[in-house]
């Protein structure tokens, strides 16, 4: 038995309403407690920031498209190479780090949980192999449902009960956490080199619209009472003039009632990388920011949460299950284009992307992201992401935090660094709001944990996992609006990162590496309906999938150490 006290830290724990109190945090083995014995080891963190370990609600860190990215971009891998130490293996990668590197870098930033945002069920084994290779962080994965042929059939027939049983079954089969939807019907249309345009367009041959698919999935999600809501990447990503599609998508689920079993979250839809969905105009020539309109909708409605997908001005690698969009990018940039279609389920595309401060479009995207952060009033509705690696690598989070906390820094960038579109096409230079540490703790920990319905992390509540981060920043001593660089430095490497009560980072060095855990949702009480659904689809599966049913599920072999979240009927 090990007991620890983190002494005299300044604690930011929004889930418990603790805003910068000087307070001890105690944990015993892997659990946070409210008292320890006299034998407890004392770690002096006087006047340093103590927060729950970070929770990243949306990143692409493990799975088939990541590996294709690494495989075809050695130039990116080379950018991050470091020499091995007694504790660490050699790192590699900038925007698409290798699996061990991913774990190390999140750990250094004080993160403890990262959601892998897109897992094709057919290749779920691959995703889980990678998750098992990433150390130090827990990783739930969201299987893709939005272009699944079975889902589209159920949605067309408005057969919500069978759809719910299908989801329940597929979460078990792929060891997934929730329902991810990417460009609904659009990725299926990409099977024929096409896309859908708008929310009411149909996938070819399937006679079902994007709206019908999303609404059916949202209803099924609430029928099951999953801890997380549907997690959507809407249609028309990255297209100037996509604001109406985005708003229609958000508005379509406002009358769907949240399940009474989902007690932690408030939303019925989480919309991801909203920045890419908030463009006005008709083409890149006259594109502008739609952030005001979109933020206004979110401010006025409580059934939606979002994360931003903030552009960071780096050379990165875009990768998404929105494959037609990636081909559009290829037509614009001509860089090396990768595509990966997955039978009966989804598609994916990858292309390198250079976000430059000199480019008007990159500047616009950067501005829209920050506008969303600053215009959405309630920090519980918005999370910090870069949609890693799409808008930038996750290791830029500290830099984004420094932008959010300093109007001076933003104004300086608008004036001296970025393209002049920032004044013409966005309202960013007119916004003075600055985040405080409490709000930062909300958008990086508390809000994502609440949105995902986590009952064991994201807060320093006794009984929760001892996932804690300590940063070498003295909030009483620093002026974030004037010391942006110091804020960035402070959040870049945690003083301590504690995961499950184990000290992984100490004095800004990784001292220990631990096995990661997958988190998956096990819905109970649907076994009979699940069997019926499987029996019904079996003839189709046998004929049109290229693997045998026996080889389709993720065997226990691949999730040796999972955290299973049971959902009772």
């Amino acid at each position: 038995m090990m007991e620890y006290i983190l002494k005299n830290g300044i604690v930011y724990d929004p889930a418990n309403g603790i805003n910068g109190e000087k307070k001890d945090v105690m944990f015993k083995d892997d659990i946070i407690v409210d008292e320890v014995s006299a034998d407890a080891k004392v770690i002096d963190v006087t006047d340093k920031i103590v927060m729950p370990a970070g929770v990243d609600p949306h990143a692409h860190v493990a799975g088939p498209k990541l590996v294709v990215g690494r495989l075809y971009r050695p130039e990116d891998s080379r950018m991050g190479v470091s020499q091995k130490t007694k504790v660490l293996r050699s790192e590699s990668g900038f925007s698409i780090p290798s699996c061990p590197t991913t774990g190390y870098r999140y750990s250094r930033m004080g993160y403890g949980t990262v959601v892998e945002a897109a897992m094709p069920p057919l290749e779920a084994k691959h995703t889980h192999e990678e998750i098992a290779t990433i150390p130090n962080i827990d990783i739930p994965a969201l299987p893709l449902f939005g272009n699944n042929w079975f889902v589209m059939e159920y949605a067309k027939d408005k057969n919500i009960e069978d759809l719910a049983a299908f989801i329940s079954s597929w979460l078990k089969i792929s060891k997934g956490y929730g329902v991810k939807i990417v460009n609904p019907c659009g990725s299926e249309a990409w099977g024929w080199g096409m896309n859908v345009h708008g929310y009411d367009d149909k996938a070819p041959y399937f006679d079902v619209t994007s709206r019908e698919v999303v609404m059916a999935l949202a209803e099924a999600n609430e029928m099951l009472g999953l801890p997380h809501s549907i997690h959507i990447h809407p249609n028309d990503l990255g297209h100037p003039g996509n604001v109406p599609t985005t708003l229609e998508t958000l508005d379509s689920v406002k009358n769907i009632k949240k399940s009474s079993k989902a007690t932690i979250r408030d939303q019925v839809m989480h919309v991801t990388h909203l920045q890419f969905h908030s463009y006005t105009g008709n083409s890149w020539k006259d594109a502008g920011s739609g952030a005001v309109e979109v933020a206004d909708y979110i401010n006025k409605h409580d059934h939606i949460t979002c994360d931003v997908g903030q552009v960071t001005f780096d050379e990165t690698t875009t990768m998404t299950a929105d494959a037609p969009m990636e081909y559009d990018l290829f037509k614009l940039s001509g860089l090396k284009w990768t595509n990966k279609d997955i039978e009966c389920e989804t598609a994916a595309g990858i292309i390198p992307c250079i976000y430059s401060k000199k480019s008007p479009v990159s500047t616009l995207q950067w501005g829209i992201g920050l506008e969303l952060f600053l215009l959405i009033n309630d920090p519980w509705k918005v999370c910090l992401t870069t949609d890693h690696p799409n808008a930038g690598p996750f290791m830029r989070y500290p830099r984004i935090i420094s932008w959010l906390m300093s109007n001076e820094k933003r104004q300086d960038m608008c004036e001296n660094e970025v393209h002049k579109w920032i004044y013409k096409r966005t309202t960013l230079p007119t916004i003075e709001r600055e985040y405080d540490f409490y709000e930062i703790a909300t958008i990086t920990r508390a809000a994502p944990a609440k949105i995902y319905g986590f009952e064991d992390r994201g807060a320093l509540t006794p009984g929760y996992k001892a996932d804690i981060a300590v940063y070498d920043i003295n909030p009483n001593d620093i002026d974030p609006s004037k010391q942006a660089l110091d804020i960035e430095k402070g959040f870049t490497v945690a003083d301590y990162t504690i995961k499950d009560g184990q000290i992984l980072v100490k004095d800004k060095e990784i001292v220990k590496v631990k096995e990661s855990q997958n988190i998956w949702v096990n819905v109970k009480g649907w076994e009979r309906q699940e069997q019926k659904v499987i029996d019904n689809i079996m003839p189709f599966f046998t004929q049109y999938y290229s693997v045998k049913w026996e080889n389709y599920p993720v065997q226990d072999h691949y999730v040796s150490n999972p955290i299973r979240v049971d959902v009772e009927k």
Partner: protein
């Protein structure tokens, strides 16, 4: 060949086993087992059946070490493992080659050993689809799973690949003859084109054979690209093909609803190597302006793709990864096995689940005659004739379970059907034992005292 009656004398059947031969990884095989041996296989092609019905005469059953007379002596496991570990621990430039016919679980142990001692890890891609990987790094990688091909494709092109001989069920199970959701009539709904200088068995059952001349691949694809981009061809005959045929083919490809180009070693082994693949990828990218096209390299070994995927997620590089400096390093044409051997760099060579004796050119293999060679394999083969320590492994997908990745990247869990011979060991066990023994023999070299981030990361620290 004489007629053989079907095997009826068996104890039981193990269903849905995965074939451990080519990159098709057919997972619908049934093994007929009698007295703990597979006596017949259902659904497999000639190649798969032949591999699973292995030649027990040549099965390696006992560890062996070369004695001073140059003869292989049978020894116990401890002696053999110690000897192999000693060779590895005493080397300064070890190369661990192979891995494509074993599981990713075994690779994990091998990688740990390689990172510890500072070895080069490389696989068979280095002699087959290495140029394809290089081309992918140049130009991109538009692929799809084989089920997509089955369900949607109405035009299939094989280029420099003789599927009927090297992937015999590819056409039947995934690409050509099978019924698909949008291709209910199977073969009749698809146009098959074979592009190959040779009138191969695949060409013989295609609708169209484009017999471009030897080393004419690049010129041929270049011409198609030109046509796709609306250019006129000035020469009447290009790479041995009349220009009218090129116009016609380009038109057909544009009008396909869903086309797939499968390419093989015919492109990677000829003079233009990765340039051939480069231009083929770019042709596919151009075709996507008109319709939907993808491609897939016809990977040879059942897990050759698996090693590339595994190394990419573990280290960031697909193959030929050099850990000698305590960092991950990869340089095409420098840290790859053939180049290393031709330069006579390695001083210890471990070959696992591969056969350089059978497949490396003489000019590379000559160096293996000068250095200690450790072989982990299941059969006595050409590499055994060069090996100094022989460690008998087990047969993945038959005697041992494990993960493999199909040519299109779909992971398959290959299950165990029968027990391995008593004296053999699982590959994973052997490599782990070697790792532990090497760790006892030698302190880890090239360890940095402190982590220093790469300055390219531009971190505020």
């Amino acid at each position: 060949m004489t007629y053989e009656p079907p095997i009826t004398d068996y104890d039981y059947i193990v269903e849905n086993c995965t074939c451990a031969f080519c990159g098709c990884n057919c997972d619908d095989l049934d093994y007929l087992v009698k007295d703990g041996h597979v006596v017949a296989v259902r659904h497999a092609c000639r190649l798969g059946a032949s591999k699973i019905m292995e030649d027990m005469d040549q099965r390696l059953l006992v560890p062996m070490i070369r004695d001073e007379n140059g003869e292989l002596m049978e020894v116990d496991w401890d002696t053999a493992l110690d000897k192999a570990a000693e060779y590895i621990a005493n080397s300064i430039r070890p190369v661990f080659y192979g891995w494509s016919e074993t599981s990713t679980e075994c690779m994990k142990e091998g990688l740990a050993l390689g990172e510890y001692i500072g070895a080069v890890l490389d696989n068979q891609a280095t002699i087959c689809h290495g140029p394809s990987l290089q081309a992918v790094q140049n130009a991109g990688y538009p692929i799809q799973t084989l089920g997509e091909v089955q369900n949607r494709a109405d035009m299939i092109a094989y280029s420099g690949s003789n599927a009927m001989n090297s992937h015999p069920r590819h056409m039947a199970r995934y690409a050509v003859f099978c019924r698909g959701y949008f291709r209910q009539r199977g073969r009749f709904d698809r146009t098959v084109v074979t592009m190959d200088p040779k009138f191969s068995d695949t060409a013989k059952c295609s609708d169209k054979w484009i017999g471009f001349e030897q080393n004419g691949d690049y010129g041929f694809y270049n011409a198609i690209r030109a046509v796709l981009r609306g250019k006129e061809l000035y020469q009447d005959v290009i790479s041995g093909i009349p220009k009218e045929d090129i116009y016609e083919l380009a038109e057909e490809m544009k009008n396909a609803e869903f086309g797939v180009l499968f390419f093989g070693l015919g492109l990677t082994h000829t003079l233009s190597k990765q340039r051939n693949i480069d231009i083929a990828i770019k042709m596919v990218q151009d075709l996507n302006k008109y319709s939907k096209w993808g491609l897939t390299p016809m990977r040879g070994h059942f897990n050759v793709n698996g090693f590339n995927i595994f190394m990419a997620f573990e280290t960031g590089f697909a193959f030929g990864v050099d850990f000698a400096r305590g960092t991950t390093r990869y340089m095409m044409g420098e840290t790859n096995t053939i180049d290393l051997l031709v330069r006579k760099e390695p001083d210890c060579f471990m070959v696992i689940a591969a056969d350089p004796g059978a497949h490396f050119p003489n000019g590379a293999n000559q160096h293996l005659a000068d250095i200690p060679v450790i072989q982990i394999d299941i059969h006595w083969g050409p590499s055994t004739e060069l090996a100094d320590v022989v460690l008998p492994g087990s047969f993945i997908g038959v005697e041992c379970d494990g993960t493999s990745y199909r040519m299109d990247g779909v992971p398959i869990y290959m299950k165990k059907a029968i027990d391995k011979p008593e004296t053999c060991r699982d590959d994973e066990w052997i490599v782990r034992e070697l790792k532990e023994r090497v760790m006892k023999l030698r302190e880890e070299p090239n360890v940095a005292p402190k982590y220093v981030p790469n300055s390219n990361l531009d971190l505020a620290m």
